[in-house]
Symmetry: D2
Subunit: 337 residues, 4 copies
């Protein structure tokens, strides 16, 4: 059995991680932390049956675990990751703190200096399908953001073949369920404000996830400066769809485009290219850990990719457990189907 | 023109009051207050077109108005009402502060002493259909709570004829939209917690509105100690339905029961008894200022009353304007249809 | 491995049964039927990844299975169950067709004669927690309705101790998610009609599930003629809560009431009595196969029971699999946690 | 008083038209038709208080009215419009039947020949803000589709100044509430399928509204062949947002872009350009008859326009009444604020 701890167990990604880890046959959960609810049990915080005790971070027995899932907010994550790494524990970090390899970029987007820049070189970006070899050996896994996951998985088949027109905008119009904003109450996520509403926010080139998308586009020699990313909040608890408009560097027939995507991901268990004519929707992946992508050819040079994930599944805890499975040499889909 | 001010303009009942007053042909809005947003305009707080300036309560020109709508939270309302009454301004108070005639009862339910008990004798409880004569002459109108409005309007035809069994429980199982909880963010009203959920709260004899219901039952010599009231939060922005189970003191046929309700409210413009067989639902009154009631006979001694209002309409601002119309001798339905 | 077939695989209870059976380690799914979609695969009907072939009922290999789940509508279920029983296959029937032991009662409530009355004596009512011994040996399991499940599980501790006042009404005010109405489009379940609405229907003593509840009350010598049952449709996909008001035959303190419920169900894995003060809500059981019940004492003679299940989980497919597990001598919670 | 009839009164656009016309001080409603519900009253079809009688189309007294609102589905509308025009009655047609001036295009997109092509030359496309002069004198008003309204109002300031790059795609990613799909039940609009879902449909260049958008782009000498239009269904009853990505033919600073939009629409009462930094959402226009547009500069050559309307308000009945007001020389906003 692999022993595991979860930091930040009472946020939505923490809870979802625990749900998955509980039914993981190779995992023994050793601790779950919460500063706010330390001393209580998880079923005093959520309407669930499991009386998992919550301890403060300071009381978490780091020496008793092989790995930790760090489900803390950005900035709060860094010191905890540092402590875990010092203790020789492998880390899956679900925050944004170790996703950007350049600490200057981190400071620019997150308005504060990175407090553990020396750890950045050992951090591995965990977009599982694109980076398995590196993930396998890493001790510090930076789990991707939900929006970047939905967008990059859709773009990758084109990036890999250098098929994106270098001078054209890549437009990602993304729609997210409200749980993506976390559990902290706010006016934006107040029921009577969010319900029956749909609202764009930080559109264009302003959302923090843009940095993460650009970095990955650079990794694959794509047109990193051409991405336009517009998130929208929709009145749904869980779900995410990115509708992505791309221009191609060369002509592709609808069949060629479809085949390219199917071939690229032919062996993936958690990513499905939908049959031609079927469009990806929230329902395709809601409450799952998978990704569903549809490919629509507008003309030989223009495609619309619809990429669906559950923001808490493949967009957070699901991908975290997938990466954990890769890191520990387990069957990649364990606890995820 | 009647000059009017609104205290607490940026809460949901405040905003709804302003929406109604804006289209009221006899009203001139002189001020709208907000402590949080003073100096801004209403369309900087809500996605609406009206650039109504917001002033702090201290800067509101009380001497320029004939009446004020006080849309502040309970406890906060008392000093403002006091100030307005001292200035000779007629008050429609939407808070709970002047609904209970007994200050001891207020202290018991609201956990703090009443700060203006000398004003209580002049306060008139504004369940319009049941109390028009007194409302007409009042200078201090205590606008009823939403739950009491839905429940008491349904019970009144039986109360008036002394038809409720004195020893049987009156069970009011009420369902409310989330806007009833106000605009202050909380975990309970956080989208990802309230959406796809339905949750009872303060059931039995614990909710503060119980005091208000009991007081009115006493007024009509009803079995005040028999009321059981169970509110439920439902994932809808606006709406309220009370399903009320009563036992009768004597047999009534379905037709007699239906006729009793129709006769009692035959001349009401804002209250509709549904035809036999049609059950009241949220949709019957949503975004309106009316009430819809259905009467279902289970057997000659048991009725089920379904009473529907919009919690912000007849349950708050709509009834407040209705009372305002009565107080100022205007057509009662002005701005309300 | 136990071989299983599912009739009516493309309705909501059929799909949910397949979801559960797919991850059941002791089950091999041999066929799934659909008259409408025969020849297609399940993932052409739903946005899911599983390409399970759909065959017409006539083509289903009954001789290849140990058991069938019959997820057809009432009336349509009878001939299929008959065929399966003739073939010696054990049946879990999720329809209403074998729940009422009296064919006259069936005819009265379902407006058509029962076409297989000779099978009724061998049918076992599958409220698992209350009827395990009989379920274990049955060849024809009548899986309970969702409303009766939520109501009867809550009443049983009082029934078992003969604690219900024989002359007082039992009032069950129930709220259900819309998936309970099935997958056939109708105006009532049309999004723009059901959304933001909450509507009572068939209230009092009119809903078909009343017969099932009364029959079980009789089984336990309870006041079967006293049940009043009022279902409400709420704008949620999955979930059910029954708020039940009962009068007791003798005084119980809050602690005694709580203890009675906890003791009755002390060994149940899928039914949880919530701690005193915590009220059951949809969220307590949504997307699970369990039941959560809260006990609120209004006074020594009156209790409010809130009973939550997922209408497709414990209210349908979850309980069906639970019963299947009991019938085949498996761990009762297999595939259900 | 202007006398008016409404054909198709029980669909969503018919009901909304009646709601607006009821409070229109210059209108007398003479008839409302429904083939399905003829002989009943409107409040037997909807949970509303108005007992407006419904007659079959054949029984509608065309000679008693000055104008008709035709709220029938496409194809069904043509013969009714023809009959009304023959009777000399002015027509506001809310269907798609008279929006495309070329009957060949109609046949291509609507899969059937146009049955009244000789009326097309007299039909006026009713995008009010862009076509007032022609609307004033028309006898046959073709009320625009909801999607084209939201998109064309946003593009017009750029079209008018010839500022759209002629070789770049115009990408309109649109999101619509479910009432836009009408009142006829279907699987797509079934609550349990649409709720908690978000789904694209007919994306790229396939949706029928594309023809209407292209035609208007041609009218203004815009790049009609460059429009890519992707509608999405969102789990909201009313609302529409189009997020539109355009490339400019010349550089514009953010302030210049903002000023261009503000200047173009400076005198409009029902269209609001939001202040820089505020993004249009469903909430900006829900339950209103207005349009709200935000202008976001990504860089000097790329803008994102967010355009919000209520699909039943400015997207249908609201604009129909606005056009009616223009046609009859009334204050344009009568009954619409």
């Amino acid at each position: 059995m692999i022993t595991v701890g979860v930091y930040g167990a009472t946020g939505y990604t923490g809870l979802e991680s625990i749900k998955l880890l509980r039914r993981h046959p190779e995992v023994e959960l050793k601790f779950a932390t919460s500063e706010t609810y330390a001393g209580q049990t998880l079923n005093q915080v959520y309407p669930i049956p499991w009386d998992i005790p919550l301890v403060s971070s300071a009381d978490a027995p780091l020496d008793a675990v092989d790995a930790v899932f760090c489900c803390l907010p950005h900035a709060a994550s860094m010191p905890t990751v540092l402590k875990a790494r010092k203790a020789g524990v492998r880390v899956i970090d679900l925050s944004a703190d170790f996703r950007l390899s350049d600490p200057t970029s981190y400071q620019q987007w997150y308005s504060a200096p990175h407090s553990a820049p020396h750890l950045l070189p050992e951090a591995t970006y965990g977009l599982t399908e694109l980076n398995r070899a590196a993930i396998k050996d890493t001790a510090l896994l930076a789990n991707p953001g939900c929006y970047p996951t939905s967008i990059l998985l859709a773009l990758y088949p084109l990036l890999a073949k250098n098929l994106l027109s270098p001078q054209s905008a890549i437009i990602a119009d993304s729609k997210s369920g409200v749980s993506g904003a976390g559990r902290k109450p706010s006016l934006k996520t107040h029921f009577a404000e969010a319900n029956e509403n749909l609202s764009p926010y930080n559109i264009g080139q302003k959302h923090r996830h843009l940095a993460e998308i650009e970095q990955s586009l650079q990794t694959f020699d794509g047109p990193a400066d051409k991405i336009i990313f517009s998130p929208h909040l929709v009145p749904v608890t869980r779900g995410m769809l990115s509708t992505i408009y791309v221009e191609l560097a060369q002509d592709l027939s609808p069949a060629q485009a479809q085949a390219l995507f199917e071939d690229t991901y032919a062996t993936e268990a958690l990513l499905r290219i939908l049959p031609a004519g079927e469009l990806a929707s929230f329902a395709h992946t809601q409450n799952t850990n998978g990704c569903a992508i549809s490919v629509t050819a507008v003309n030989p040079r223009q495609l619309i990719l619809c990429s669906s994930i559950d923001n808490l599944g493949k967009g957070a805890a699901g991908q975290a457990v997938q990466n954990f499975n890769v890191m520990f040499g387990l069957e990649e889909t364990t606890a995820l189907l």
